[in-house]
């Protein structure tokens, strides 16, 4: 399950006329602002190393200008690194020649863009087919596959419409279908849902999680929205000024922020909604029959009614209904108080 699919090692990206000359001083600790004001070069990525596990959703989060869109474009080399390597399935893609890079993009990765980037002159069917037609696959076969994905994202009947006849949410579903149609292992989503209004965004997040249950793709998801990150991410990496400041799961980010930047980021999050019972679980012990029972994967918020009923705490069971531990009432009250700080 947890093979490493994408390995990013010591990745630097400096934009400007002579980027290579400045990697050394960046390594010596010159930061983004100084590099810009003194040397007129823009620091995109500063020594990023990140392992992304197969079949997981890796969220990359940061404010605008933090380098997150630059980072995702290194996975399919839409942007060339200044230094460092990106290894996919054991192959260093920064060393691929032109032809191999095209093949890599055609077969291994699919990408979804913030502003959809659909082809305005092609109808929905042709848009979804684009990746397949680039590979010169058999026409009827690729139509069949495109139709399958159009149906999967719920756009059957819209095949002959043009992108601008569709709403934003529908357009992004076309974008998603287009990325999935070539059946890539890796799905790169660059702020894919940021341009959508909140209700549709939630909808699309649910749809993505739903699809992912069966697809098991390796997904890199860029966002600046923490709620989205917490909802989707198996792991969340946080970038600031081109540096990776923390990489961890939702609980680690919330409970142990690596620095002030991350702490500010997570300040306003409703912890009890995000944190799951398993993160505050006291493992082992005995079942207390007078206490209610909850699942390890429930959020604390969902267990609040049970907590109000309980005497001293909650019994916790796993997916297979086995007793795994308990949570005391005091601990929950503690967390409730903290999240109101």
């Amino acid at each position: 399950m947890s093979e490493i699919k994408i390995k990013i090692e010591n990745l630097y990206k400096i934009f400007g006329s002579r980027p290579r000359e400045y990697t050394d001083i960046v390594r010596d600790g010159v930061d983004k602002d100084e590099l810009l004001s003194k040397y007129n070069h823009v620091l995109g990525l500063d020594n990023i190393s990140l392992d992304i596990k197969e079949h997981s959703i890796q969220v990359v989060m940061g404010l605008s200008g933090s380098g997150k869109s630059t980072l995702i474009r290194h996975i399919n080399r839409l942007i060339e690194p200044t230094e460092g390597t990106v290894t996919v399935d054991g192959e260093d893609i920064t060393k691929l020649n032109k032809m191999d890079l095209l093949e890599f993009r055609r077969n291994k990765t699919g990408m979804v863009f913030q502003r959809f980037a659909l082809f305005p002159h092609q109808n929905i069917l042709d848009n979804v087919q684009f990746g397949l037609s680039i590979k010169n696959l058999d026409k009827s076969d690729s139509i069949e596959r495109a139709m399958y994905w159009i149906e999967k994202v719920g756009l059957t009947g819209f095949e002959n419409k043009f992108p601008n006849q569709l709403s934003g949410g529908m357009q992004q579903r076309v974008g998603l279908a287009r990325a999935l149609a070539t059946d890539p292992d890796i799905l790169l989503m660059d702020e894919a849902f940021s341009a959508l209004d909140p209700l549709i965004r939630t909808d699309m997040q649910d749809q993505l999680l739903d699809l992912q249950k069966n697809l098991n793709k390796t997904i890199m998801f860029i966002t600046h929205d923490l709620d989205e990150a917490l909802k989707l991410g198996d792991r969340i990496a946080i970038l600031n000024g081109g540096k990776l400041v923390q990489d961890g799961n939702a609980e680690e980010i919330l409970l142990k922020p690596a620095d002030q930047y991350v702490a500010n980021f997570v300040k306003d999050v409703n912890r009890i909604k995000v944190l799951k019972i398993k993160t505050i679980l006291d493992q082992g012990g005995e079942r207390t029959n007078s206490n209610p029972t909850v699942n390890v994967n429930d959020s604390i918020e969902n267990c609040l009614p049970a907590i109000l009923e309980s005497q001293s705490g909650l019994n916790v069971i796993d997916e297979k209904n086995n007793f795994v531990g308990s949570v005391s009432k005091n601990k929950i009250i503690d967390i409730l108080q903290k999240s109101n700080d």
Binding site: L102, F104, N107, G110, F113, A117, F119, N160
Partner: protein, 298 residues
């Protein structure tokens, strides 16, 4: 030469050296055209055959058939009944006033010039859009082609190829090709960067990007260029007639030299009628190609 004189009259080169300069340049070009004139003329032979053949077809086919074919093309291009009927009236009047053959000559040379301009101009425009260096090199040439008075480049063309259809064709193309080159370049450069990035992300190579994304999206702009090219070619008809191109320009030229007001007016109006028909048809055809932008879909 004393100090004040230097500022009062421009220190020009001596009359004698200027004369020598002109003479040697003229002589060199005359030798060049004597040496290679025939070879260069031979290069254009296929174009000449095609032009003559096209003109013959238009002039020798029964006029009702030609009109019907024209009207079908006009309707297919514009989808406008009003324009088709107006064109019919214009053609009938042109024929009735005895200008049919000249009009067919003009249509044939405009047609060939436009086709050649498209055939040459679009690849050059594509080249320019792909390389800033090519663009920097070609843009001043286009500026010269558009601003240099046509009579100036008519001189070397006539020296080289004599008087006739081919020099006329060249003169018209030199004048009319810049818009299609410029607008092809512009259209491709204007293609949305995000859409291009998407094509890259799916592994499209250069050719695939060009033919599946860039050219289709640039097509409306390219079509504006084709429209401009046709209009400029028509504007050159009278000047081209000075070097022996048959068509509506010749009677106009005759009218100028002999002060035949009505003759000039009629032929001038025939050129205007052709211009309006070409313009409206190519514009509405271009507009229909960008239907997807308006979201109109039948």
């Amino acid at each position: 030469m004393n100090f004040t004189e230097f500022f009062i009259s421009f220190p020009e080169m001596s009359k004698e050296s200027l004369r020598l300069f002109k003479k040697s340049l003229d002589g060199a070009y005359r030798n060049f055209s004597r040496e290679y004139g025939d070879t260069i003329e031979a290069v254009f032979d296929p174009v000449l055959y095609f032009l003559v053949w096209f003109e013959k077809i238009l002039q020798n086919s029964p006029w009702p058939i030609v009109i019907i074919v024209f009207l079908l093309l006009i309707y297919y291009g514009s989808r406008s009944v009003a324009l088709t009927i107006s064109s019919l009236i214009a053609f009938l009047l042109i024929g009735y006033f005895g200008m049919w053959d000249d009009t067919m000559s003009t249509v044939s040379i405009i047609g060939v010039c436009t086709l050649m301009s498209i055939g040459l101009g679009i690849p050059i425009g594509i080249l320019m859009s792909g390389s800033d260096r090519a663009r920097a090199a070609i843009t001043p040439i286009l500026d010269i082609m558009q601003t240099m008075p046509s009579f100036v480049y008519l001189i070397p063309v006539v020296m080289l190829l004599g008087i006739g259809k081919i020099p006329g064709l060249l003169a018209v193309i030199i004048y009319a090709i810049p818009p299609i080159i410029r607008l092809t370049d512009l259209g491709i450069r204007e293609v949305n960067k995000e859409v291009l990035e998407a094509a890259d992300a799916f592994g499209a190579n250069r050719t695939q990007k060009l033919f599946r994304v860039q050219l289709p999206l640039a097509l409306p702009t390219i079509f504006a260029g084709i429209n401009q090219t046709i209009m400029m070619a028509l504007a050159m008809v009278v000047i081209a007639s000075m070097i022996g191109v048959k068509g509506l320009g010749q009677p106009v030229l005759k009218a100028i030299t002999n002060q035949y007001f009505t003759m000039g007016l009629l032929n001038g109006l025939a050129i205007v009628a052709l211009a309006i028909i070409f313009d409206r048809v190519s514009q509405s055809f271009g507009k229909r190609m960008q239907q997807y932008r308006a979201g109109a879909n039948e």
